[in-house]
């Protein structure tokens, strides 16, 4: 049998040579059953040496008066050598002064001389139960910290891929923003400078949470960028990115992604949609159009999926708002959904510049949701067409 792997190890420290055989004799059942193992030291110095060499000692049972180093000094040094142990002091009956001193130095409990072994058994059990509970709490705390740090990593990855600067052009204006959910969703947007003055706009929502979703987000964004720079047609770009994501997708993740190319020369927007919510075009006259559906499935789900594309013409002053379902599916404390209508109402008078458009959306959603928890990332990207 393994060297009593499950046994608790107890270090007994006393200068009286009689104690060792007595403990071994009176505790023999617990020793034989593999519940406890005892190791012995004659004084504080020897006890610290044993603690330093043997990291498996769970508990120290120590006398107070000993040569070289007494029990009270030993208590002071134990946390440096073996912080994960519990100490119990053996004191003279009624010696409250030393008992108080021992408790103040971190002893968990005390027993008195002459040793009552029934009481000692109860004390040992109680001490070890406390130690186990503490160890469990400590391990949950460490697990929780690991989860939090994973969320932190995912959140940093997400923030790092969002554009921080928006292109400046006489022909158009672009602005975007994202408010991450507490548990990190998978929204992102991107702005790509293409040939001939064209600009690519992408908005996306990756399913799932945490680091795997963040990695999938990074992959989606990188593949989109790489593909979009070589291919003009948004439909072809999505087809290509879909296949690349599908081929290496063990975790069954997917991303809804809408990709559009704005041509300021023609003032036209060509887009293809992989399962994302459709953008809204707010006209300069205060009316709006939801961009027509182009029937495309979320990326990463279906091999060989094809993506149709459509083109809309814009007039100066038109604003196209791309958004994720975190906007329309924001909930308030009454359990109501923000919904499409509230989004459209924001712009009953035509939107102004892009920054104010984005701010108006985020402020309205935030006022609506109040202090209700935010379950999903909220992301918006706006493009405003100017004169040539």
């Amino acid at each position: 049998m393994d060297d009593a792997a499950g046994a608790y190890r107890i270090l007994v420290v006393d200068d009286e040579p009689d104690l060792e055989p007595l403990v071994l004799q009176r505790m023999r059942r617990s020793i034989r059953s593999g519940q406890y193992q005892f190791v012995f030291a004659q004084n504080g110095v020897e006890a610290l040496q044993k603690l330093g060499q043997d990291s498996n000692i769970d508990m120290v049972l120590s006398d107070i008066n000993m040569p070289q180093m007494d029990g009270l000094s030993l208590l002071e040094h134990i946390p440096d050598v073996a912080p994960d142990t519990r100490s119990v002091i053996i004191s003279a009956y009624g010696d409250m002064k030393n008992i108080r001193a021992a408790m103040n130095r971190g002893a968990f409990d005390f027993v008195t001389k002459p040793l009552d072994f029934d009481d000692l058994r109860v004390t040992i059990e109680r001490t070890l139960n406390n130690l186990d509970a503490w160890r469990q709490a400590e391990s949950s705390r460490l697990r929780l910290a690991a989860i939090e740090s994973e969320l932190d990593v995912a959140s940093k990855m997400q923030q790092s891929i969002l554009p921080t600067e928006f292109p400046e052009s006489r022909h158009y204006e672009i602005c975007g923003n994202m408010t991450p959910a507490r548990e990190v969703g998978g929204d992102f947007f991107d702005i790509l400078n293409l040939e001939n003055g064209c600009v690519g706009l992408a908005i996306a929502d990756v399913s799932g949470k945490g680091v795997p979703a963040a990695l999938f987000m990074m992959a989606s964004r990188t593949l989109l960028k790489g593909t979009a720079i070589g291919l003009y047609d948004p439909g072809k770009v999505l087809g290509e990115v879909n296949q690349l994501l599908y081929d290496d997708n063990e975790a069954m993740m997917f991303v809804t992604l809408l990709y559009a190319v704005y041509d300021p020369e023609r003032r036209s927007l060509t887009y293809a949609n992989g399962g994302h919510t459709l953008p809204v075009l707010f006209h300069a006259d205060g009316t709006h159009t939801i961009l027509p559906s182009t029937n495309g499935i979320a990326l990463g789900v279906m091999s060989g999926a094809e993506y149709e594309q459509a083109t809309v013409s814009c007039s100066p002053g038109d604003t196209i708002v791309f958004y994720t379902d975190g906007v329309t599916e924001a909930f308030n404390n009454e359990g109501e959904e923000f919904g499409m209508d509230r989004l459209l109402q924001i712009f009953e008078s035509a939107p102004g510049n892009c920054r104010s458009t984005i701010d108006a959306i985020f402020n309205t959603v935030s006022d609506f949701a109040g202090d209700a928890p935010q379950f999903d990332d909220i992301t918006c990207l706006a493009l405003r067409c100017s004169d040539h």
């Binding site: 069954m252 997917f254 809804t256 279906m302």
Partner: protein, 112 residues
């Protein structure tokens, strides 16, 4: 509310809960995982009670569909509310998941 499941003449019929979002998607997946046996060959998910599904919930449906495909089982969903159907249509999932308007139609489809 957790899912409910029953077997009717060899078809596993699962009633979904009212809401599947990122907060309960993992639990939803585990419930489905324990409800579905490896020898099930016909599975219908009735979404009559489902009022809201987020992309995290869609992923669970997709994982379940893929798992059933691997065990050569037929899978269909039915009784989607207007909003839930819209989510399946917008995401394009209506093209990879067999959707029926009634439980009878769905049961007939997975046994066909």
């Amino acid at each position: 509310m957790p899912i409910e499941s029953r077997r009717d003449a060899g078809t596993l019929i699962i009633q979904t809960e009212e809401r599947v979002d990122s907060a309960n998607a993992q639990a939803f997946y585990q419930e489905l995982d324990s409800a579905i046996e490896s020898d099930d060959k016909a599975v219908v998910m009735d979404m009559e009670r489902l009022a809201y599904i987020s992309s995290a919930g869609l992923r669970v449906i997709l994982q379940t569909a893929r798992k059933l495909q691997q065990q050569n089982a037929k899978f269909a969903i039915c009784s989607l509310s207007g909003t839930v159907r819209e989510v399946f249509e917008i995401s394009g999932f209506d093209r990879v998941i067999d959707i029926h308007s009634s439980q009878e139609d769905a049961v007939a489809a997975v046994n066909g």
